[in-house]
Assembly symmetry: C2
Homo-oligomer: 435 residues x 2
């Protein structure tokens, strides 16, 4: 135990999350003292603008725009980074570690892009770098993956880790709305930003998938390793087609251990997928998040809660802060990066998936055989075919068994070029059931 009488904390950023971190640090200070062992004193809050309105009452003199100076202070033990983005966040975190501070961050973008640089800096400085808030906001998921499941072998993680897209898809499912209409409603209600690209195109979820895959499989996975498709092409017809098979469309972050030529590989991808309504993830409504974990011994676990919001995210930040503070007092550190397994990343084309394909066809003899042949040509076996409508409205809905994603994509290509196929109206991967 160190003889520290108090731990000094600097918070970088005082926006949606930072203001709530500051509020909790102040309001819960007696509890924090009891849980940490010594008082945790807020010594500075770094921002861009001194005069911006804040969601929290700040004691005089704490706010500063000299963020680099704040991080360089010799007396700062703990730094919370809730500015976001790559720079100046990266430089600030690196200089905090270099300066001997322990760091807590919520910055998924930075971790997914350049995590290894940060982890190596923490290792070199022999300091903690914690980031529970970076994935699924308030939901404790990184600590369970890293610690609770440390004696088990995680085989798959399926997550609804972006609230905006879940809100939009849930709206489309419950009201029959199209994508644009649902997006507009999400924007009006504050669930989507004016420029929704990062959420809607799956960039945010892909960053989280990289972080989840790294932890689950003890390997380095960055955002660039994650296959990514957003939801902007999901149509009301896709959602209706899912409904017809008792399924629902969700944007999933999927991280799996898959057999490769030289041992297990990591497959990480983000895309819309149909999952059965009976799957625990199917009941995750509105902007909530949930992460479903499969492991060898524990079986199936699910973690559910608010994936964003200032206060929920601040709760996760403070949880990390208490651990990091206790470690510091005890002169120890928590588990650092664990990448010993060093697995290769499986290319998306080789990753086995299942497809749901709806095809408008000419209603004549031999159509089904022709369509079935297209699948067979690519060694894709069919699980079910459903024929709907007659005449000009004739439609075939095919659900495949698992096959390499590239073979499925090539099958769809071939279907599109066939005479008897008027249109391929819906193509979507299927998850959460048997292969």
């Amino acid at each position: 135990m160190s003889d520290k009488r108090t731990l000094k904390v600097a918070v970088l950023g005082c926006g949606a999350v930072g203001s709530q971190v500051v509020r909790l640090l102040t309001e819960q200070s007696d509890d924090l003292t009891a849980r940490v062992g010594v008082p945790v004193e807020l010594v500075g809050v770094g921002v861009r603008r001194l005069d911006a309105p804040r969601d929290v009452d700040l004691p005089d003199g704490l706010l500063t725009t000299d963020v680099a100076g704040l991080v360089a202070r010799a007396d700062v033990d703990l730094v919370v980074e809730v500015i976001g983005g790559i720079e100046p966040a990266r430089t600030l975190i690196l200089s905090a570690l270099d300066n001997g501070a322990s760091v807590v961050t919520a910055n998924k973008a930075l971790l997914a892009e350049d995590g290894p640089t940060l982890f190596e800096a923490a290792e070199k400085a022999e300091r903690d770098l914690y980031y529970e808030a970076a994935v699924a906001g308030a939901i404790p998921i990184l600590r369970p993956l890293r610690e609770s499941l440390a004696g088990d072998k995680v085989t798959r993680v399926l997550g609804i880790v972006n609230g905006t897209t879940n809100f939009i898809l849930d709206k489309m499912d419950s009201s029959g709305a199209g994508f644009s209409e649902a997006l507009e409603e999400a924007q009006e209600l504050g669930y989507a930003e004016a420029d929704p690209t990062a959420d809607v195109e799956g960039f945010d979820a892909a960053a989280k998938a990289a972080i989840l895959a790294s932890l689950a499989f003890h390997s380095r996975v960055t955002a660039a390793d994650v296959y990514r498709e957003g939801i902007s092409d999901v149509t009301a017809a896709d959602v209706a087609s899912a409904r017809d098979m008792g399924s629902v469309v969700k944007l999933l972050a999927i991280c799996e251990l898959r057999p490769g030529p030289n041992g297990d590989q990591v497959a990480a991808r983000v895309h819309p997928a149909m999952i059965p309504r009976t799957h625990p993830l199917a009941s995750v409504r509105e902007a909530f998040n949930a992460v479903f974990v499969e492991s060898e011994a524990a079986g199936q676990l699910m973690f559910y809660g608010p994936g964003a919001g200032g206060a929920p995210t601040a709760s996760a930040v403070l949880g990390d802060l208490v651990t990091v503070a206790r470690n510091r007092l005890a002169g120890t550190r928590g588990m650092g990066e664990s990448a010993y397994a060093d697995r290769a990343v499986q290319p998306m084309g080789e990753t086995r998936t299942r497809y749901h394909v709806a095809i408008d066809v000419d209603d004549r003899a031999g159509v089904l055989a022709a369509v079935a042949n297209a699948f067979a040509d690519h060694d894709v076996s069919i699980q079910t075919v459903r024929q709907e409508g007659r005449g000009a409205d004739a439609q075939l809905v095919v659900v495949s068994h698992a096959a390499p994603d590239a073979a499925l994509a090539a099958t769809v290509e071939q279907l599109r070029s066939m005479d008897i196929v008027r249109e391929v109206t819906s193509v979507m991967r299927v998850e959460g059931g048997d292969e």
Copy 2:
């Protein structure tokens, strides 16, 4: 860092859980070495009978009936207690700690009855005592409560923490079966023991409620502090009545922070309750467990998974073992008992609950007024009254607002004594909605 080249572990008990702990220790040994930092070597397995059949292949010479001798070995660093029950488990854990070993246990009965003795021994010995597996099997819930939410204020925990009773109630709900029939089916399928008392009468859930309440509210709560009612009196009519209001009956472990005369008190109780089908806990089927946590900043979180079973429980034990082993190597300890808040336990009679009451009444003018008066006599306000049937089948279904439990019980007493009341056919508490 210590210069230990290997950590030695003794496992006490080799039954459902112990055999899986031994299996994982062997099968995952490379991963465990990578995660802990040094090899974890199994040096002995304590049992009652040397010749009993085991679910795992044990290396020769590991099995011993001299359990006390195993625990007293000078070279044992880590002791896993999966014997269960009060004695000899307590004596063995105390002597392991006294001997300088760190301990991991799954023993909810012992922790709920005599936790403080164990925690004090761990404190005195300056050793870790971890017990994630004691509540909700594989589901990481204690670590999130204790660490992830350490910067937040937990206000309520609602848990389905007993798989046997959830299986029975789910069966009653889905098939209309009565309690005995559903219990028999649970026994046939291995979800209930031949003597089902501990599960069915809520003793097991009450032990878990005590553990959850202690952690959530940083206070000492033992099984004796937990109000307990089992499910053996739940009838098919209760379940049908719940269904009529869009609800489902679950055996809940409920831990709450409630205002008392001198600050917040802890209320902890286990009883069947009706919850709305839209509540996340309502969709927990069969023998699964789930714990729903409400906290000030994080909001509502849920943790879901298998609540029992050898392998899932062993996963939780191993997760603790990795942490405890790492702490030992680092010469540090995790968070010990946290009981600084030292809150009083609120008596059940004072705890505010809501009641659902179904009453067979005489079908004549003034009946509703008379029933309403009975509630008013005890200052209980009524949320809804539904009249069903006519004549000899006339029934009133009343749902109250929140009131002290004693006032609600007294109201039911009074109803039972009234002339116009033929029978009070169903009385059950209501949870998971607005007060």
